[in-house]
């Protein structure tokens, strides 16, 4: 250890070097940065949403770009959503049959499958699958446009990028998510019935009429329409992350990852809130 330039003399206390008094910060610096960053992120998100809303509400409307995005989000996600729905249908069917058999409630199988798929599994699986495919794609595409100055070029051409790029993508997500959810539900019910029919004979007509017996629109519609909120979350997060990217290829990768992670997280959180809301609003 260094003696810091002064020597001890026997019997005499050497003069201590003068030390600068450093006050401990009131708040731990890294956590303070984290808190600031958290509020900054939400502040920027708020400003972004306001700009998109204002751009979307005023003409000219970007109809062609909206149609392109509807195709991009809807038709191109359909195979993936259908496959995910089909897989979930089989899993729920197997699990439900096993559990219901234990309690002697096998007759409840069709209704259990229908309600589990339509109210719980279909919407959340569609949201997460689309968040993975569309969120990452949009985030990376916009981030790449941002770092190569293409978004600046759009703005320099006197075209509002919030209207052309963000509003159209967000609207496409909002419109397509409920339709994709219906497709996922249909595939899940079909494969769920098929998995059951392989074990015990059950006609599809019987399965559907028994499953939907007594079901009202209130039991089906709110759970399907809530996915429009998932669409809003996916679109807003992906566009926001993409359009604020900095830092070249690494920034593009970060934007894609953040888009998926944050959109998935917010979808799950939103689901908690919306399930409670639907239970209260549609008892």
């Amino acid at each position: 250890m260094s003696d810091r330039g002064f020597k001890a003399t026997s019997g005499v206390n050497p003069a201590l070097p003068r030390q600068r008094i450093v006050h401990a910060p009131l708040v731990n610096a890294p956590s303070a940065g984290l808190v600031t960053g958290f509020f900054e992120w939400f502040g920027e998100l708020g400003i972004f949403c306001w700009r998109v809303l204002r751009a979307a509400a005023t003409p000219p409307y970007e109809g062609r770009e909206l149609i392109r995005q509807l195709d991009e989000v809807g038709s191109k996600s359909l195979p993936l959503v259908a496959m995910a729905g089909a897989a979930i249908g089989v899993v729920v069917s197997l699990e439900a049959r096993y559990s219901l058999s234990r309690f002697g409630a096998k007759s409840m199988f069709p209704a259990t499958l229908v309600y589990s798929v339509i109210q719980v599994m279909g919407p959340i699986i569609t949201g997460l699958v689309v968040s993975g495919r569309v969120g990452a794609g949009m985030g990376a595409e916009l981030a790449s446009m941002k770092v190569t100055e293409q978004i600046d070029a759009i703005e320099a051409s006197a075209i509002n990028p919030y209207r052309l790029l963000a509003a159209t993508r967000i609207l496409a997500c909002i419109l397509m998510l409920p339709l994709l959810t219906l497709a996922a539900d249909a595939c899940a019910l079909l494969t769920g019935w098929f998995a059951q029919a392989l074990v015990e004979p059950l006609s599809f007509h019987q399965f559907i009429s028994s499953g939907f017996n007594g079901a009202t629109f209130d039991a089906v519609l709110p759970h399907t329409l809530k996915t429009a909120v998932y669409g809003l979350i996916i679109g807003v997060i992906a566009c926001f992350q993409g359009m604020r990217t900095t830092g070249g290829a690494a920034g593009v990768g970060r934007a894609a990852t953040n888009s998926v992670v944050l959109a998935s997280l917010f979808i799950i959180l939103a689901d908690v809130v919306m399930v409670k809301f639907i239970l209260v609003a549609f008892p």
Partner: protein
């Protein structure tokens, strides 16, 4: 220091209308974090006039162009485009002013999902909605012919060279018949022949269209060829502004060093 108007009067090629301030930047300051990039820059460009902004890398040349087109806002100072102050304008009001400007980005910034022809047609589709697709197509061909790129109309930007991309970027910048042309490093990264071709193209466009132009460049030879006036930036300030001869006669050490190294 002489103002833009004083120096422009000395030039042999300065057009008669040079005194009309199409672009007027007044004491612009801009910082990024703790780094101050621009420290009170003032510049003016009139109709038919070309100002070349020179300087070392990182002296804020490109930032200056971004401020003029409104992509970045200054910390203080003002920018007037044909007398209209950019401060406090909304995106749509700014859009009206931007329609008078053409901007060629350093790396052309062509939309990589569109073909060359679609790139040039892009501003027309959004701002000339009254045009039929046939009229738009004809105009795109005319613009591409003007920059010598008519054969690349159906190619993707990734399939053409850097020099060709800059030509296409220039055609796109000219699509709305701008009165002000902003060029960010139009010859950077190009071979001498391509650089010369781009310079000739800019000169030809200037003769035909009489735009007010600001060219940011490292290339002194190119600046000397295309510009009426040159402004040399050093440390975020204008070290000298004037004709090439003014720069040659300057006794400022940085100017002499810059000319010697170029």
């Amino acid at each position: 220091m002489p103002t833009a108007y004083d120096t422009s009067m000395k030039q042999k090629d300065a057009p008669a209308q040079a005194a009309v301030p199409f672009v007027a930047a007044d004491t612009l300051y801009k910082s990024f974090g703790t780094r101050r990039v621009l420290k009170g820059i003032s510049l003016c460009v009139g109709r038919g006039e070309t100002l070349a902004v020179l300087g070392r890398s990182g002296t804020g040349k490109s930032v200056l162009l971004r401020l003029i087109v409104g992509l970045t806002t200054p910390d203080s100072g003002s920018i007037r485009i044909q007398g209209q102050d950019l401060a406090g304008l909304g995106l749509d009001q700014l859009g009206e002013i931007r329609m008078k400007m053409g901007f060629l980005f350093q790396h052309a910034a062509l939309y990589d999902s569109l073909t060359v022809g679609e790139n040039v047609a892009f501003p027309l589709e959004h701002h000339r909605r009254e045009m039929s697709s046939a009229e738009r197509g004809d105009l795109v061909i005319k613009l591409l012919e003007e920059v010598g790129m008519e054969d690349a109309r159906h190619k993707m930007p990734s399939d053409i060279s850097g020099g060709m991309q800059k030509r296409v970027g220039l055609a796109r910048a000219l699509a709305l018949e701008p009165e002000i042309l902003l060029l960010d490093e139009p010859t950077a990264g190009l071979d001498p022949i391509s650089s010369g071709e781009i310079d000739d193209l800019i000169l030809k466009l200037q003769r035909e269209r009489q735009m007010a132009s600001i060219v940011v460049t490292h290339d002194l030879h190119s600046a000397k060829t295309i510009a009426n006036r040159l402004a040399l930036l050093n440390g975020g300030e204008v070290a000298i502004e004037g004709t090439f001869e003014d720069l040659q006669q300057s006794d400022i050490a940085f100017v002499a060093q810059f000319l010697k190294s170029s």
